[in-house]
């Protein structure tokens, strides 16, 4: 039963997405695919952070009827950690900004050379 814990499963998914994202960033040639790799990496890290705050058998950190129905009837003993979730909210917005900027750069790069293949952009290579 230990391996089917929700926290562990989401941790595993987070690690998997991070590795897939790194693979995409490192191995793809197309700039758009590299950006998608960044987005996947970002999602993986977000899932990882949320799952670190998960506590088994507890509900979302919103004080409503679900908390009042909990057997011990105490906020402290019935909600998961709100701090990683608040951090991830920030991280998602930053991730959005990074993706938007990367796409703008990709557009400019395409206009400059009419290609999206990363191997053609070797002006800074020596």
């Amino acid at each position: 039963m230990e391996y089917f814990d929700l926290g562990k499963i989401s941790l595993l998914i987070g690690f998997l997405l991070i590795i897939i994202g790194f693979w995409g960033v490192l191995s793809q040639k197309n700039i758009i695919k590299i950006i998608i790799g960044f987005a996947i990496l970002n999602t993986g890290i977000n899932i990882l952070m949320v799952s670190l705050g998960y506590i088994r058998g507890r509900t979302a950190p919103i004080i409503d009827s679900a908390v009042e129905q909990a057997e011990n009837h105490n906020v402290l003993n019935s909600v998961v950690d709100p701090v990683p979730q608040a951090l991830v909210l920030t991280a998602i917005v930053i991730g959005f900004g990074v993706t938007a900027l990367l796409l703008a750069y990709a557009m400019k790069l395409f206009r400059a050379k009419r290609t999206l293949d990363i191997n053609n952009f070797n002006d800074l290579k020596w």
Binding site: D5, G7, K8, L11, L12, F15, I18, I19, F22, W23, L26, S27, L52, G53, Y54, I55, R56, A60, P61, I62, I63, D64, V75, L76, N77, V79, D81, P82, V83, Q85, A86, L89, T90, I92, V93, I94, F96, G97, A100, L101, L103, A104, Y105, M107, K108, R111
Partner: protein, 233 residues
């Protein structure tokens, strides 16, 4: 070949690190430290049912201010980066029309999407939601309207004014907190109200509405820049 080998090595290193982290990871069993304080006192001190909102808007309100600053910075850099030359700016491109289905559906859906976005950011202190999510929903309505009518011009002045006014109001509410309550961005400048109702949690619904409007306007601004850059030759 060497390249693939190096990529394989890097990924294998990550797999090794993550495997060790995974097998030694022990899930938490109780809240500790600052999280316990937020969970225990959050409802009394801030009055918000959604503890994440209490953390984002009040306890860590300064971070949120930095966050929308970053979003503003992104929008400005993109505006600077995709700036059109004078010749391109005056060019008029007529795009091919889209399908009748999309146009009709957008007429029905866009007001509902905007309404839902406003609902999400006004109820951020009660339900899972908030300014950033609501703003993103509003921007998705703008995306739909651009998709349905690619020739649509987004009114730039409206976006700039909404963004500026909501940003300034956010900071002003924060400064009011210094004089009327405990400190910068303290939400107790208004009464905490009855717990769990719309008009509760002091200034949080107002702050989050401004955040939602600002985020929606900024994302629409970025979309507008992307749309306009099609004119670039």
């Amino acid at each position: 070949m060497l390249r693939n080998l190096l990529i394989g090595l890097v990924l294998a290193g990550f797999v090794f690190i993550f495997y060790n982290l995974y097998i030694t990871y022990e899930p938490k069993t109780e809240l500790t430290g600052i999280a316990a304080h937020y969970a225990e006192k959050g409802a009394v001190e801030v009055g918000a049912a959604n503890l994440v909102t209490a953390v984002v808007v009040t306890y860590r309100g300064f971070d949120t201010l930095g966050e929308i600053t970053i979003l503003f910075l992104t929008a400005s850099i993109i505006a600077f980066f995709l700036k059109l030359s004078k010749v391109d700016e005056e060019k008029i491109i007529v795009h091919r029309g889209t399908s009748e289905l999309l146009i009709t559906a957008s007429k029905i859906l866009i007001p509902i999407i905007f309404l839902f976005g406003a609902y999400v950011f006004m109820n951020g202190h009660l339900t899972p939601g908030g300014g950033f999510q609501g703003g993103a929903i509003i921007a998705s309505g703008v995306v739909l309207s651009i998709l349905a009518n690619p020739n649509r011009q987004i009114n730039h002045n409206v976006i700039i004014w909404v963004e500026s006014i909501s940003g300034v109001s956010f900071v002003l509410i924060g400064v009011l907190g210094i004089f009327l309550a405990g400190g910068f961005l303290d939400n107790r400048i208004l009464g905490l109200g009855e717990f769990g109702t719309l008009f509760s949690a002091g200034a949080i619904p107002i702050i989050y509405s401004f955040v939602g409007l600002k985020v929606g306007a900024e994302i629409s601004n970025i979309l507008n820049k992307y749309q306009k850059s099609q004119k670039e030759s």
